[in-house]
Subunit: 218 residues, 2 copies
Amino acid sequence: MKDTKTFAVLATDVAVLTIDNGVLKVLLTQATSKNFKGMLTLPGGLVGHKERTEEAAIRVLKEIMIKTDYYNEQLYTFDDPGRDPEGRVVTVAYLMLVPEDEAKRVTRKDASWHAVKTLPKLAYDHNEVVKAAVKRLMGKLTYTNIVYSLMPLEFTLSDLQKTYETALELTLDKRNFIKKIKSLNLVHKTTHKVEGSAHRPATLYRFRERKYKRVDLF
Amino acid sequence: MKDTKTFAVLATDVAVLTIDNGVLKVLLTQATSKNFKGMLTLPGGLVGHKERTEEAAIRVLKEIMIKTDYYNEQLYTFDDPGRDPEGRVVTVAYLMLVPEDEAKRVTRKDASWHAVKTLPKLAYDHNEVVKAAVKRLMGKLTYTNIVYSLMPLEFTLSDLQKTYETALELTLDKRNFIKKIKSLNLVHKTTHKVEGSAHRPATLYRFRERKYKRVDLF
DNA sequence: TCAAAAGTGTTCAGTGTACACCCATGG
DNA sequence: CCATGGGTGTACACTGAACACTTTTGA
């Protein structure tokens, strides 16, 4: 066996996550393969001969979303020989994070957001992929600053807190949270405030830099 | 392009790391491909048609090492279309950790350990793979208990400390280190001591469990 | 008795946690 | 004036960090 060149079909799938109104969601489309007709699936497709898997992932997403320059990282490679009944398909999965306000900008009709907590059985091993994506997200939220990739340009500190609470499934004390965020120097005030709410207007903040780095949260 | 099935050659490479006498090392073999003749390379090979990449990785390692049931995790998939001059080869890289006392048990003559700090130019993109492996190791040492996979069954607390110091490139205070390790309840004393040293004999310890879990170190 | 590494506690600073009330606005 | 979420400070416990000397052994 060791001298046999093996030709595998190379694919990519992307778990695009966002937080929508206090719910962690993943972007799903309708499966087209005859084996999974009628089921939901992660956006994905085959990789071109000269193409990197990440490029292929972006190419596929461009058919679904207007913008694709969001946080994206390689997640895991799924290689079970039986994962696709049609043959040996190895998929390099990616994790993409989209801010809540951008998540509306999904252009294809068969694509929509689904709460990760209540997913039906997905095509292929995509339930497993989503699980890995959520786990990765939860890990990275606690020891890096990637939360910026889930937030709009300007946001309130309550928004930020809710994002952590939703994604990490915990509740935080408002005063301690703010103290922490301020001590890490991740954000700065803007001169803007949220208008039109039936209560004291919240100050809008921005991240000092939207660039991945390690920081020590919870 | 999106409707073209792409056949890629699927390979696997393993960065096997160990700590040898205060030096972090990686297991390398002689490259055989004509493009990289004479260079060193990570152990690796092509993946069989019905084979998982991890199985293939273990199969390849069995030709080099007596035992292979060490800590092993998928590291990253390297897919640059130009990474192998002979054609499109996508490699799923693994990270394996071997305890110092087991590292002697390398059976093939062309395989040997090399300090990761002073590697020559390796075949393919294997310098990059090693770099990713070391980075992963350093991360996991700080927030999990995988250090067990680098230690022999019994070890002194100084050994353990030196392992962290070597792999993480830092120095630790002995008293604080022991306090930390004890508070995490990771190890327990044995009745054995190290004999024959020209100083007070050190107590040997064991891990309570050699099972991956998150813990909060440094 | 000397050299070498093992083994052991305390103090202090800083961080994490618990906790409650007033503020600004729209309706 | 009421309802709603925004915004703020303090006290205490705990953790992390700095730091030095005695013990046990072999040579």
